[in-house]
Every structure is written in C-alpha cells, then in structure tokens.
C-alpha cells in the first residue's frame, strides 16, 4: 500500500465505524428512561463535540509550532484543522438544536454552553475567512496562528461551562455520567469520527500544501507567454 493512500483508508474506516455505531445506537441500544428515543441523538452529538474540541486543540498545537519553528507543513496542518473544527462545531450546534427542541422546548437558548460553542464557531470561521483574504503567505501564516492561539481560550470555556456556570445543558458526557448500556455505541462513533477526521485533516493539509506550492511556483510556460504578450 502506497504512503499516500493511508488517509483514504482512515476515512473509510471511520465511515464504517460510524455506520456500525449508529446502527447499534439506533436499533439495539436501550431507550433512556426520561428522554426516551430522543437520547439516541447523543451517539452522534457527543462524538462530534469531543472531536471538534480535539481538532481545535490540534489547531492550537499547529499554531504554536508554526509560530515557534515556522515551516509550511505546520501552516498547512493549521488550515486543515481549523476548517475541520469549523465543520464539526457547526454540526454540533445543529445536532444540539435538534436535541434541544423536544427536551428543552426551544431550538436555541443563550446559555453558557451554547453561547461559548457559538463563539467557537464564529471565531474559527472568522480565522478561516481571514486566511482567504490575506494574499501574503507569511502574513497569512503568522496572523492566523496568533488568532488561533487567542481563539483557543474559548475551548476550555466550552468544556467547563456546564460546571462553572448555571447551565441548561447537562454535564459533560463521560464514563461516569453516562450509563454503561450506552457506552459502546458512543465509543464506536467517537472513534469513527476520529478516524474520519484524521483522514480528512491529512488530505486537507496536503491540499493546503499544494496550493502553497502553486502560489510560489513560476507560472507554466503557456501562462508566461500570455503574460509576456500582455506586456508587449
């Protein structure tokens, strides 16, 4: 197997695990006593939230390494991790809204957990937009790395918000707070999202690196002739 194939294998494995865990959660896991069937949303919501925080932590690490050591590889990884983090944070908000409607009676509430998650989505979405607008690759790398270090402050706030403030949201889902009957579909889906994420972040980083190479490469001969013709 070639070295370039492993992200595709990881993503495929992740999708297979997600299919397995979701089938288990939907068809074979028991109903929860109070939330009934609606609690089955947990098997996709919680793994998405865990992995969103994980990939944004990876983005924070990439930003630090990029600032301290430099190198386009870490900048490419940073871009990939930010984009994946924005996608997962957006998905967490959508899943959470769908779960909130039957349990809380509202689609959205400005409680600490939901507000800090929305801030996370808009902060990292803004950094992604910033990268699109800055043309100078060095400024783009430095500015976005600094912005990620600042925006990352919100990640522990999201995690601890349910403990630190009076939140409508339930406490963090951990082996201590979730019944044993629900553990396996939750774990399988958590690894499913993780493997999918690893594959996608690696491919997205390679894509960012290819774009960076294209920025610094001389134009192809055809384009060069066009450009020269334009000058004449």
């Amino acid at each position: 197997m070639g070295k370039g194939v492993w992200p595709f294998v990881m993503a495929g494995l992740g999708l297979a695990l997600l299919a397995w865990g979701s089938t288990w959660g939907l068809a074979f896991a028991p109903r929860e006593t109070y939330m009934g069937e609606v609690q089955r949303i947990m098997y996709v919501h919680v793994p998405t939230a865990w992995n969103a925080m994980l990939v944004l932590t990876f983005a924070f690490a990439c930003a630090l390494v990029s600032l301290l050591r430099g190198g386009w590889t870490w900048d490419a990884r940073l871009e990939a991790a930010i984009e994946a983090g924005v996608v997962l944070s957006g998905l967490v908000c959508i899943q959470g809204s769908i779960w909130a409607r039957p349990t809380w009676g509202v689609w959205w509430d400005w409680d600490p957990r939901l507000t800090t998650t929305a801030v996370l989505l808009f902060a990292f979405g803004g950094i992604l937009a910033l990268r699109q607008f800055v043309e100078d690759p060095v400024k783009r790398a430095v500015w976005s790395a600094v912005a990620v270090v600042i925006a990352y402050v919100d990640v522990p706030l999201v995690y601890f918000s349910v403990r630190w403030w009076n939140s409508l949201h339930q406490l963090q889902s951990t082996p201590e707070t979730v019944s044993r009957a629900f553990h396996w579909p939750l774990r399988i889906n958590a690894f499913g999202v993780l493997f999918l994420l690893i594959g996608l972040v690696e491919l997205r980083a390679r894509l960012a690196f290819l774009r960076r190479e294209a920025e610094s490469a001389p134009p192809p001969p055809g384009r060069m002739a066009e450009a020269l013709g334009g000058v004449r």
């Binding site: 939330m35 949303i41 294209a214």
Partner: protein
Amino acid sequence: MNGAPAGVIQGGWEYVVAAYVASAVILLGYAFSVFWRYRRARSRRDTAL
C-alpha cells in the same frame, strides 16, 4: 393526558432521524468536498509540471 409519567418524553423519532440525516449529509458532504478539491489540486499540479 396520554398516561405517560410526568417528565418523560414520548416519541421523538423525527428528531432522531433529523439529527442523523444532518450528521450524514454534513460529514459525507465535507468528506466529498475535501476529496474533490484534493484531486483537482493534484491534477492541476501534474499538468503544470
């Protein structure tokens, strides 16, 4: 009254289906988008070489 104990949610499968469909659409859509952009960037690089 439907005879269900107070504080217990009845039904709700439509919300479960909505959450799983939204998750599948967003995760598969993002995966497809990354694969497609990566393939396009590689073919551009190969033609430029």
